[in-house]
Every structure is written in C-alpha cells, then in structure tokens.
C-alpha cells in the first residue's frame, strides 16, 4: 500500500489551460507515439542496413572483389543488369522492411485497442491519419535517401576499384533512378500504412502489400501470356521498376508515366484509408 494511493486526490492544483486540438498538435502527438516505440528504430536501422550492406556486397561480388561465383564460370557483373541496379540490390530487402513498418504503424493501434483512446481524443479522426502519414514520411524519407546515396556512391567506388563498369551521378537517368528508388521506398511504406489502417490488421496489411508487390507481379508475368504485359506494367511494383532502374525494357512504362501510376496507387490507398477511418465504428 503506497502512500500516494491514500492521499486525497488533488486535481485542482494543477488545473491546465488546454489548447485547441489542431492538426499540428495531432502530428506532434503521433510523433511522440512513433518515436517512443523501440520497434520503429529497430526497423529503420534494419532498413538502412539492408539497403546499404546488400548494395555494397553486391558491388563487391559484381566487381570480382568478393568471389561469390567461384566455379560457375560466370564473368563479374552478373548480378545487376546495369551498375545502378547492382548497387541498389539492397532495395529488394528494404522494400519488404519499409512495407512491413508502414503496415505496423497503420494497424498497431487497432491490435492493441489504443485506436479508441486515440480517436476519443481526436473525434474528427482524419488528423490522426495526417499525423501518422506526416511523421512516417518525415522519418523514413531521409533514411531512404541516405541509404540509396550511400549505396550508390559507395557501390560505384567499389565497382570502380574492381575495374567493373560504372556510371556517374550526372549520367543520363542515373540521378532519377537513384532518387526514384528512395521515393519508391517511401511510397511503398505509405501503401503499407494505408493498408494497415484499411485492414486494421498488421498481418493483413503486411500480407496485402507484400503480396501485391512481390507475388502478384511475379506470378502474373510467369503465368499469363505476353499479351497481358500491357496491363501488368500498371501494377505498383512494375510501375515502380520503370523509374528506379536505368534501362527499362519494353514491358515497362516510361519513367515519367511509371511515377505517375505509382503515385496514383499511393493516393488510392490513402483515399481508402480516409474513407475507412472516417466512416467505420472504431
């Protein structure tokens, strides 16, 4: 029996002057939530590590500095179709991590019941979504940017040292593809977040995003006849590929159109989350 439980309650002494609940205040609230979960930082660290470590290792193998293909008789440089995709090889893993992080941020409050506490404090609801989106993007965008830049410049230095083919930042389309990859990562995270809110389930959100990103395009292009390519290139991952790689094939959209299509997918998910959040019982 601790002393304070027996003290008569005293609320008046610290009467507070409450401020209006504005969207900036809700963003601030979401920021406190995001930064006070250890999983946020672990996932972001994991994403940065995957992006850079796998990119640099891929550059090392491609330039022959790490002999990963011993006995297979293949020449160095087999990993990527071009130097940019070689050094951005880590994005394959980073994509998974950022989508999972997004889905967790979107769905976590539903699995704990915290969402009802949150929406009771913000009955207008939508500021909560804006808060989650803003804090997620502000947190993840610099990480994605640093990750792709380290991969690019570090990877190119390794390729150069190994005598493999390289491209320069100023070369045609290179900066676009590298920065495009950072944007693609952020966008996929946002899709994950929207899906998490839409489905109210971490597992469901992760499953949907990864399924839509990984399995559907791969499966579809393997199973469907070539005549379907005109449709398949509008899938989020194929649209993403068009502006994150250097030498897009005929089966992909042009970088500009691809980016617009991908942005439309992101927007669609956000609209879905808005409708669900606004109209559903919490």
């Amino acid at each position: 029996m601790s002393a304070e439980t027996l003290n008569p309650p005293d609320i008046r002494t610290s009467a507070v002057a409450a401020a209006r609940t504005t969207t900036p205040r809700v963003i601030r609230s979401e920021w406190v939530k995001l930064r006070t979960l250890r999983s946020t930082w672990l996932t972001i660290g994991g994403m940065l590590f995957a992006l850079t470590a796998f990119g640099l290792i891929s550059a090392l193998t491609a330039s022959g500095q790490v002999d990963a293909t011993a006995g297979q008789g293949r020449p160095p440089g087999f990993i990527g179709t071009d130097p940019v995709s070689t050094v951005l090889a880590g994005a394959t893993f980073a994509v998974l991590i950022v989508a999972v992080l997004g889905a967790i941020i979107g769905a976590r409050e539903y699995s704990t019941g915290m969402i009802r506490t949150t929406l009771a404090a913000v009955p207008k609801r939508l500021p909560v979504l804006w808060g989650k989106l803003t804090t997620f993007v502000v947190l993840i965008a610099p990480v994605a940017l640093v990750g792709v830049l380290v991969s690019f410049f570090g990877g190119m230095a390794i390729l150069d040292a190994g005598g493999a083919a390289t491209v320069a930042w100023s070369d045609d389309g290179v900066a676009g593809a590298v920065l495009g990859m950072a944007a693609y990562l952020v966008g996929l995270g946002v899709i994950g977040l929207g899906m998490g809110i839409l489905l109210r389930s971490t597992a469901g959100g992760i499953g949907t995003v990864l399924g839509a990103v990984l399995f559907v395009p791969t499966l579809a292009s393997a199973l469907l006849p070539d005549s379907w390519d005109d449709i398949l290139k509008y899938l989020p991952s194929n649209a993403g590929q068009s502006f994150t790689s250097l030498n897009p094939s005929d089966t992909l959209l042009s970088p500009g159109v691809g980016m617009a299509v991908f942005a439309a997918w992101v927007l669609l998910t956000i609209v879905g989350a808005v409708v669900a959040l606004k109209h559903r019982d919490a």
């Binding site: 209006r20 979401e30 406190v32 506490t117 009955p123």
Partner: protein, 309 residues
C-alpha cells in the same frame, strides 16, 4: 453535462441500444448500472463518437463531441484499461495524448503521482496489471482537466485499496462541480459511489432516479415465518394489502405487514413460531429483479423469432 436523446444502435436487426434518453447532471456522481450486455459500453462509445448511432444524438457540455475544440479537455473517458500500446511507457502514453491539447510533462508527472504510477511511469506498460492499467486509464481521462468524466467499469481489477481510492476520487471530482458518469454491473459498487442512478437492461433505460429514491422504492420488507402451524397462520394473516406465500411447508413469506403484528396475531391464537424474521431485500436483488425482467422479455422474443424462421 451529458445529454443522450433517443440514442439507438442496431447491429443488423439486434438493437444493442434501443431508444435511450437520459441526462447526466454536473456536481454529482451518476451511476450507469446494468448487467453485462445491457448496452452500457456501446452507449459510452456513441457518446464519444467512436460508434455511430443508428439514430439519436449525444451532446456533451452543450454541443456534439465532434465539434469540441479540445476534446480531451471536454470529456475524459476510460473505456478499456487494456487499450494501450504495451510497447510504450505510461509516461510516453500520456505525453502522446496530452500533445493533442498542448499538455506537457508537468501535468503528466503530476497525474502519474496522483494515480500512484510515478515509480513505474517510465517502464513499459506491457508489464502492467489490470489494476495499473485502470489507474493509467484514469490518468488519461484526467489529462485535460475535463469538465465531464466518463468511466466504464473503473473498479474492475482494482484491489480494495484501489477501489476505495476510486470512490474518493469520483466524489472529489463531483464536488468540484464536474459531471461524473460511471458504469458498473455491480449494484453494491454503485450504492457506495453514485448519488443518481440510470439503470439499463437490454439497451433500454429501466430506471432514472436518485439513489435514495431507488433504495426507498426497492426496500419493501418482507417477513419470514416458520411455524408448525403455518397453514392456520396463513389464513389468519390474509387480508387486504397483505400477501402471503409459501415455498415449502412450515414456512411463510409475508409482505405488507410488519413482523411485530405477525407475532401478535400468532400469539393471540396461541400458535407456535420457530422463526420470525424481517427480511430487507438487498439493492442487489432489487436491481437483479428490475433487469431480469428485461432479460426474460428478450428471451421470449428470441424464441418467437426462431419459431417464425
């Protein structure tokens, strides 16, 4: 003040809340009493705008909650003690919610002290007991120093010391002029805390009256007698305003006549009494009787529905 007007919530054809209307006044503790499944939590969620009513409205301090400029300072609510993120500390939980109304660490630390969680405020809430969760929920409810406080089953999981603490706290809040609305499925708990009662069953308001009136209305005594001459006594006692019933031979339940009079009648006829007792029905029983009628009613409509199908 909370004003609920014709509030209805249906899930398919089943009404969880069926045309409820009541007003919760400031300055007193109002109990929201009903068995589990009576619609108490659904009503509270609709008051907070978490669930959309099928029809009807809820008004807090004169306006719909959605229009409040500072929701957390308008009404502080504890709905589920476990509705917290277990990966976050109690302090950070309060800081995050406080940020929506610009409330900072000074207030948060004061509240942690108030609810007795100061020592564990920085540890992960995942290790909290149900009682500690309730305390954190109450701290959350008080974050914005709200005019109206609404707590769903706040004594759940608390030890006797904690229950006493809640009672004192609720009384204090009401004395300060706040509107205090507390739900419970236990009459005994309400008896200790509430001045006014809103009794619900099967989504409907069954009684809306001062606690004192509820007690007066439900405390009609009965007299229990056991006697080898129960049969003869039965005939002697029967009369206008008096009901006599017998569940087993040798025992009588009499209402409408004081025990003393029963004894005098028996003595005048020379009847032997083995027992003569005044039985005051508990409020718990009165409450059970009131709500069980609603439950039975529902049971019969369900049967009809099945027959129709």
């Amino acid at each position: 003040m909370i004003e609920v007007r014709n509030l209805t919530k249906r899930y398919g054809d089943v009404p969880a809340v069926d045309d409820m209307s009541f007003t919760v006044q400031p300055g007193i503790v109002t109990g929201f009493l009903g068995p589990n499944g009576a619609g108490k939590s659904t009503t509270m969620r609709m008051i907070l705008g978490l669930d959309r009513p099928t029809s009807g409205t809820a008004i807090i301090n004169g306006r719909p909650y959605l229009e409040s400029a500072w929701p957390l300072a308008e009404i502080g609510a504890l709905l589920e003690a476990r509705a917290i993120d277990k990966g976050r500390s109690a302090r950070n939980h309060l800081l995050a919610l406080g940020a929506t109304i610009g409330v900072g660490s000074a207030r948060v630390d004061h509240l942690l002290e108030l609810v007795g969680l100061a020592e564990v405020g920085s540890t992960s809430a995942g290790g909290f007991s149900l009682g500690m969760g309730q305390r954190l929920g109450i701290a959350t409810a008080l974050l914005g120093d709200p005019q109206t406080v609404m707590l769903d089953e706040p004594v759940n999981g608390l030890d006797p010391d904690g229950i006493r603490w809640i009672r004192t706290l609720l009384g204090e809040l009401a004395d300060e002029g706040r509107t205090v609305f507390v739900s419970s499925h236990l009459m005994s708990e309400m008896e200790m805390t509430a001045e006014h009662l809103i009794v619900v069953g099967r989504g409907r308001v069954l009684a809306d009256m001062a606690m004192a009136d509820f007690i007066a209305a439900s405390s009609q005594n009965t007299v229990r007698v056991s006697s080898p001459d129960a049969g003869r006594l039965h005939n002697l006692l029967a009369g206008p305003g008096v009901t006599v019933s017998s569940n087993d031979p040798g025992h009588l339940e009499i209402s409408g006549m004081p025990a003393a009079q029963v004894g005098e009648i028996a003595a005048s006829e020379g009847l032997v009494l083995h027992e003569l007792v005044d039985v005051a029905p508990s409020l718990e029983e009165a409450f059970m009787k009131l709500t069980s009628d609603a439950v039975e009613h529902h049971g019969s409509t369900e049967t009809n529905g099945m027959r129709a199908a």
